[in-house]
């Protein structure tokens, strides 16, 4: 066995404004250089636990009343503790799906009136595979 080198796990990519606006040595320094904040990193806003977060693609309409549509990008965090009312990824009988957690009534709820709640019985195998903390919905041209 050898020590393997690993890629760093930090998920924080940096899509930032350039830190130094004026790099041309001969030019007049930009008066704004002194006021740079370093830019905004969207990852910082959307992802709290980079090493425990994965992305998934939504397919289907059972969660539309909570604003999750087909094709949306889901940001799923496995490090936060799921509580009732959270939107969770669950494995039910070997299939991944997304429901609202309602442990108080031993149920998993859809967010679409056309679907029925799922009762969690003693013999059904239900595993929580993370909490959906954001859904990224693409809007360009949505109303065309």
């Amino acid at each position: 066995m050898k020590i393997a080198s690993l890629i760093p796990a930090c998920r924080r990519t940096t899509v930032l404004l350039p830190l130094y606006l004026s790099r041309v040595a001969a030019g007049f320094p930009s008066p704004a250089d002194d006021y740079l904040d370093g830019g905004l990193d969207l990852n910082e806003h959307l992802i709290e636990h980079p090493a425990a977060t994965y992305f998934a693609r939504a397919e289907g309409d059972s969660m539309i009343e909570l604003g999750i549509f087909t094709g949306d990008l889901l940001i799923v965090d496995r490090a936060v503790q799921a509580v009732d009312g959270d939107v969770v990824v669950v494995a039910i009988d070997g299939q991944l799906t997304i429901k609202v957690l309602d442990l108080a009534h031993s149920r998993l709820l859809p967010a679409n009136k056309l679907y029925q709640p799922i009762e969690i019985s003693a013999e059904s195998q239900v595993d929580i595979e993370g909490v959906v903390i954001h859904a990224v919905h693409h809007l360009k041209g949505a109303s065309r």
């Binding site: 690993l6 890629i7 796990a9 980079p50 090493a51 994965y54 693609r57 059972s62 299939q95």
Partner: protein, 419 residues
């Protein structure tokens, strides 16, 4: 106290993270080009499938047993591993020492003895919840004993994956029940020698006279014996030494008969070797390249050429140019080539390397390579490459049964059905 965290059947477990439908099934993972079985889980083992045996010989058995086969998905395993290591590093007070893709040592000296078990269980639960991977944690006064403790976490389900060896009677009890070949650092050859001296368990080895150990295998075996007696003598950080040789070689997905794909392949290997060379801040002073048919080919051929590189280099362009030229000399038409390779030799740390007055190294080349490595690290290996490396079509590996790169490619992230 030092701990060892070991991921259970790691490659197979990674395949199940996003596949709840196969969590009750046995899984095997095959090597590059699907040649041999490189990983298998307990269910596959129970079915009689063997590690490192050819895949094609076991295909019937695998099928009959209902065991699933995956081509190795190193993008996935590497990412899951990096996430696990990052998670552990954040949880423990003194950092971790990554030992392999699925193991790391943890310094537990800051944790009170009475809390070791609960602490280890917490680490195990966290990795299970956040990464979906089962982990065994063993804690002992030395690395070699921690490694021994892993045997207990695998053998005795009632300890729930956590083994703390605090007192001598505890590790002696376990050592008497574990085969000597399971000892950390004891290979197959040494096992045979020790067996010949009548030693069969780890306990036998721990009682070996140090003078005998020294005669048989030198200081490394003495260290192992002392570690088994509870005396730490293997450093916290056994960092890898700069490699003496860097080899980059692969079997082709399909046999090649023309020169061009061979040259593209070795160019690609030379570039890859160059990345490793630069990562350890070294230069190489000699390069060799080889091409070969399969050893079982009706018309076999294999040859190798090497050339010295005065002044040393770590420039991928130079390495690739030399490798391609060598293959041009090695190539004979009329053979079905199965494999090619490049080896960088005579590797020396950059800071000690003498400049060659006749062929000074270029500062620009070093800067260019730094930029190329940076881009490839960020955008994926191969984002920038030499034209000579070609399109990778013919010689790229066969990974016919590979699962999606769930965590590293946008197109392959898991799809979840909302029904």
């Amino acid at each position: 106290m030092i701990g060892l965290c070991d991921m259970r059947s790691f490659y197979c477990a990674c395949e199940k993270v996003f596949r709840p439908d196969i969590r009750d099934r046995g899984v095997v993972v095959t090597s590059n080009n699907d040649g041999v079985v490189v990983a298998l889980d307990d269910r596959a083992k129970a079915a009689g499938i063997k590690k490192f045996e050819p895949y094609f010989k076991q295909r019937q058995l695998i099928k009959r047993a209902g065991v699933l086969t995956f081509s190795s998905n190193y993008e996935l395993y590497g990412e899951v591993s990096a996430r696990i290591m990052a998670t552990l590093a954040e949880l423990v007070p003194n950092g971790i020492e990554v030992y392999s893709i699925d193991e790391c040592f943890v310094d537990f000296s800051a944790v009170p003895r009475t809390e070791l078990k609960a602490y280890a269980a917490m680490l195990r639960d966290t990795i299970w919840q956040q990464q979906g991977i089962k982990m065994g944690v063993s804690i002992a006064p030395t690395k070699t004993l921690a490694k021994l403790g892993q045997c207990a976490t695998k053998q005795f389900p009632q300890i729930e994956g956590v083994c703390v060896l605090e007192h001598e009677p505890q590790w002696q009890w376990l050592a008497a029940r574990v085969d000597i070949s399971e000892t950390w650092g004891i290979g197959r050859k040494l096992t045979r020698k020790l067996n010949a001296r009548g030693m069969s368990t780890v306990a036998d080895l721990s009682e070996m006279a140090k003078a005998d150990a020294r005669t048989l295998q030198g200081i490394t075996l003495v260290r192992t014996v002392r570690e088994l007696q509870g005396e730490p003598c293997i450093d916290r950080d056994c960092q890898p030494q700069p490699k003496q040789n860097i080899i980059s070689s692969r079997s082709f997905g399909q046999k090649q008969t023309c020169l061009q794909p061979l040259q593209e392949a070795v160019s690609h290997y030379a570039v890859r070797a160059g990345v490793k060379l630069r990562a350890q801040s070294s230069l190489c002073f000699r390069l060799s390249a080889w091409i070969q048919t399969s050893a079982h080919d009706a018309k076999p051929y294999a040859d190798e050429l090497s050339v010295s590189l005065p002044g040393g280099t770590a420039d991928s362009r130079e390495l690739s140019r030399v490798a391609v030229a060598l293959v041009g000399k090695l190539y004979r038409p009329g053979y079905k080539y199965a494999k090619a390779g490049v080896m960088l030799q005579d590797i020396r740390p950059e800071q000690f390397a003498q400049q060659d007055l006749l062929a000074p190294r270029s500062e620009n080349a070093a800067r260019l390579m730094k930029v190329v490595d940076g881009v490839n690290q960020r955008f994926g290996s191969g984002a920038i490459k030499l034209a000579r490396q070609g399109g990778e079509s013919g010689f790229a590996m066969k990974r016919a049964m590979k699962s999606p790169s769930y965590l590293t490619r946008w197109r392959e992230i898991p799809r979840i059905r909302l029904g």
